[in-house]
Symmetry: C2
Subunit: 201 residues, 2 copies
DNA sequence: TCGGTACTAGAATATGTATTCTAGAATGTA
DNA sequence: TACATTCTAGAATACATATTCTAGTACCGA
C-alpha cells in the first residue's frame, strides 16, 4: 500500500519534547523540531495541522502519562497509603521524567487552551476530570459524603500542590528532586492531612 | 528645558502589567502596550530599548515590590513570628496584588535571563541575593551556624515553596487566595519547620 | 511490473510583530 | 522670541517563523 512513514508522530513529539525541556517553549520551532529529527518541515505538517496542535499533543501525551500512575497510586485500599503513594508518586515521576516534567512546568493548560484549536477543546476541558473525580472520592472516603470544600482543598494541597512546589524548585535547576523532597512531601501530608483527621474539619 | 513627558516609564509598565496579567506574556506586544495607554509605539521605544528590556523591567519592579515586605517580615525578633510572618506575607501579597502575582507566575527568572540584554545580566543574577541571605540567616539562627543543607531546604520549603504553591492554584483561576490558604501555609509551617525543631535535624 | 497511496522534500510565501526612521511638537531658558 | 532638548507620532521596514505548495519518492498489492 502506501509508503511507510519515516518519521512517526511520537518521534516528532519526542523531538519537540527535548527542545522544550532544554530551551523553553520558544525553542520548539517547526524548523527546530524538524532539524533535530533530520526531517523536512513538510513531514511535520503532514502529521500535525499546526504548531499549536503539535504542542498541545505533546502536553496531552505528557499529562496522561503522569496521571496514569497517580490514579493507580490513589486506588490503594488503605486510605493513608493511597494518599502517601499518590503524593510521592508525583515526586518520583518528576525524578524519572525530568524532561516531561519540564513540559508540565512550562505550559499551563488554562493559558494555552484558548489558543488551541477547537479540535482539542473538549479533550482539554476534561483531561483533568479523572483526577478530579479520584481526588474527590478520596476526600469523601476520608471525611464522609458531605465533605466540605475546605477539606477537599486540603487533600488537593497535600497530594498535588505541595509535591508540585517541591519538584518545581529542583526542576528549575535542571536537577532531579533529591530524597529530601520525598521527606518534605510525606511530612506535610502526615501533618496537614492525616494528622488533621481527628480535628473537627 | 525639554518637553515634559506625556507617558512615564511606570505608566508603560503598568500597561504591560495589565496585558500580561489578563492575556499572558504573548499579549504584551509593543503595539498592545502602546494602544492600551493611548500612546504611539515610538514613545515606548523612547523609554525602552527593546521589548525584552521592557518586560525585564516589569519583572524586576514586581519582584522587588514583593521582596520588600518579605524581608521586613523576616526581621521580626521572635524566630517563629518571623517565619510565620514571612510565609503569610507571601499569601497576603498575592491576595493584594493579583496582577503582579500573575507576572511572577508567568515569567521565570531563569528562563528569561538568557534572552535579556547584558545590560540586566548583573541585576538579574543578584536580584535574589538579599532574600537568599535573609533566609540563610534565619536558618542559622534557627539551627545554629553549621546549619545543614537539608535544614536550609526545609526553611525555603515552608517560607517560599508552600506559599507559592497555595497561591498558584488560586491565581490560575484568577481568584485571590481565600483565608483557607493562610491556614494551610501556617499549619505546614508549624509542623514541618517549627515542630521539627526538637528532632535531630 | 505497474499503479495507487501516503509520505518525503525543501523552496516559496504569508504573517505577525519588533524595530527603525523622519518629521513635528512642546517646553524652559537665554 | 529663538533655541536646545526631549518627547510624541505613526508610517515604513526588518525579521523570524509558521504555513503552503509543487515535485518527487518508496512501498505494497494486484
Amino acid at each position: 500500500m502506501p509508503r511507510p512513514a519515516k518519521f512517526t508522530e511520537d518521534q516528532i513529539l519526542d523531538s519537540a519534547l527535548r527542545l522544550v525541556a532544554t530551551g523553553g517553549p520558544g525553542a520548539a520551532t517547526i524548523a527546530g523540531i524538524a532539524g533535530l529529527l533530520g526531517a523536512p518541515v513538510g513531514s511535520i505538517y503532514h502529521r500535525f495541522r499546526s504548531r499549536d496542535l503539535l504542542l498541545a499533543r505533546l502536553w496531552i501525551r505528557t499529562i496522561k502519562d503522569f496521571q496514569k500512575g497517580f490514579l493507580e497510586a490513589l486506588e490503594a485500599d488503605d486510605l493513608d497509603e493511597a494518599a502517601l503513594g499518590a503524593a510521592l508518586y508525583n515526586v518520583e515521576w518528576t525524578r524519572e521524567h525530568l524532561e516531561e516534567a519540564r513540559v508540565l512546568l512550562l505550559y499551563r493548560r488554562e493559558e494555552l487552551a484558548e489558543r488551541w484549536p477547537e479540535e482539542l477543546g473538549g479533550e482539554l476541558a476534561t483531561i483533568n476530570a479523572d483526577v478530579e473525580v479520584a481526588v474527590k472520592n478520596h476526600a469523601v472516603m476520608r471525611y464522609g459524603k458531605g465533605v466540605s470544600a475546605a477539606a477537599l482543598r486540603r487533600v488537593v494541597f497535600t497530594l498535588v500542590d505541595v509535591p508540585y512546589a517541591v519538584g518545581r524548585r529542583h526542576l528549575i535547576n535542571g536537577e532531579p528532586p533529591p530524597p529530601l523532597a520525598d521527606e518534605l512531601v510525606a511530612e506535610t501530608l502526615w501533618c496537614v492531612l492525616i494528622g488533621a483527621r481527628s480535628s473537627g474539619i
